[in-house]
Symmetry: C2
Subunit: 267 residues, 2 copies
């Protein structure tokens, strides 16, 4: 069926609005960070304060730190601590929920998912490296039925930022996401199939929701542990978390400084 | 710090409201169903119709079928088809998002997550059996750091319905959830640790969100494939999907008929 004239003019109006939005400076940013240790240095750096009247429903542990920094409306969203267990709400379920709720409440121009990650030395990753993801996919959603298999992998391109990448001299690599900190042989096979340099527990879920709601998203990940190295992941992760968080926060600050005053197509 | 008088009276008012809600007949039900094949017979049975003005944001594929059946406001929520790939949006990310969005939009008294599942014959499951879950947990979120490990497993009791269980003569068993249709040795070890009789791809995510927002939830799962049997899961699943869906729909209808006119504590 051909679109009616109304559909057509609606589409033209939408495209014109989208183009106007693209050509004004970025105004509102949502930064999704899974762990408080990763978030707090940035909260201090940008002088954000915790939202007293939460934009989120009563009872959820999600926290929004908010403030104005270099003319940008900055919102750091941390999924908070599990209400019973008291640990950070890591992983894809919490990440997708807070991404959804933050987009609904704040209508950001851009989402940044920042966090720590494991890296593969065979693909060039070292402890403390900060990567911008070129694309993201899942490695623990195996559905061996045609087309469902692709849905499970959930490969998504991130919002392309060639100028930011070049001007800030960041490393680039593919990001693979799963809900386990360790890596089973099946996960490893999927990570290799995803051609990933870095592995995290949230990225592909944030990308899925951002894509669903048509908000551009980028992914900044700092390497806390070498997955194809000698040390156990959890030990190396905890050992390097504080130091690598400093590198992550420096990179996120550089990215935010770079974004300030620019329009999306300039990134 | 001791709660102030205001906190106390607020708490008393909340408890009194909760008790009033518990003692009036159940009015609004949300039924989360991941696959259209599973949902459509129930949509027809309850004579529901697709919501023309979606309660969900523009662009998401989520579908609400709505209507009144035996004085119950019934909402079947299907996450829809992937906008690019056209397959049902199965798995924990979509399930948690639609559960969250449906609770926010509809404030149901009760959530029912209905769907097909794999079953373990060693735990007494047969093809076509319909189970009510006694509790739910994840089997593919391994985080080997103290307390984070428990967060990953995410064990949750379901809303207890002893009368419904007895009067409808349903089987009962523990449900374990993961994003893969197959089962890796690591998944298997976690499923055994979870003492699960049935395995699905959404339950624990629905339970997590329902618990977060304090909405009672129950889980009705029909067995399409025997995981510890001879046949490959995906083959057996596709072979039995239509027939087992009929058993699932019959059980969900019985449960809804049973709920009609009752208060939550009567279930």
């Amino acid at each position: 069926m051909a679109p009616s004239l109304n559909d057509k003019s609606e589409k033209v109006a939408e495209e014109s609005m989208a183009s106007q939005l693209q050509n004004r400076p970025i105004s509102t940013i949502v930064i999704i960070i899974a762990m408080q240790t990763e978030a707090l240095p940035l909260v201090n750096k940008f002088q954000l304060s915790e939202d007293p009247d939460s934009v989120f429903p009563k009872g959820v542990p999600w926290v929004r730190y908010h403030g104005i920094y270099r003319n940008l409306n900055i919102n750091i969203i941390w999924p908070g601590q599990d209400t019973v267990l008291g640990v950070d709400c890591v992983g894809t379920v919490s990440a997708s929920l807070v991404t959804y709720a933050a987009i609904q409440a704040l209508q950001p121009d851009l989402i940044i998912n920042a966090g720590t990650a494991g890296g593969f030395k065979a693909k060039g990753a070292c402890i403390g490296d900060v990567f911008l993801a070129s694309d993201v996919a899942f490695h623990d959603r195996r559905i061996p039925i045609p087309v469902f298999d692709l849905y499970g992998v959930g490969l998504r391109q991130v919002f392309s930022t060639p100028n930011l990448l070049k001007d800030l001299n960041l490393k680039i690599g593919k990001l693979s996401t799963g809900d386990s900190l360790d890596m089973s042989p099946q996960d490893e096979a999927s990570i290799i199939a995803n051609d990933a340099t870095i592995k995290d527990m949230e990225g592909a879920a944030v990308a899925y929701v951002a894509d669903l709601l048509k908000i551009p998203a980028i992914f900044i990940k700092a390497v806390t542990d070498i997955i194809d190295g000698d040390k156990p992941t959890s030990e190396e992760f905890l050992q390097n978390l504080a130091a690598v968080t400093a590198a992550l926060d420096q990179a996120v600050t550089q990215v935010v400084d770079y974004i300030s005053g620019k329009c999306l197509p300039e990134l």
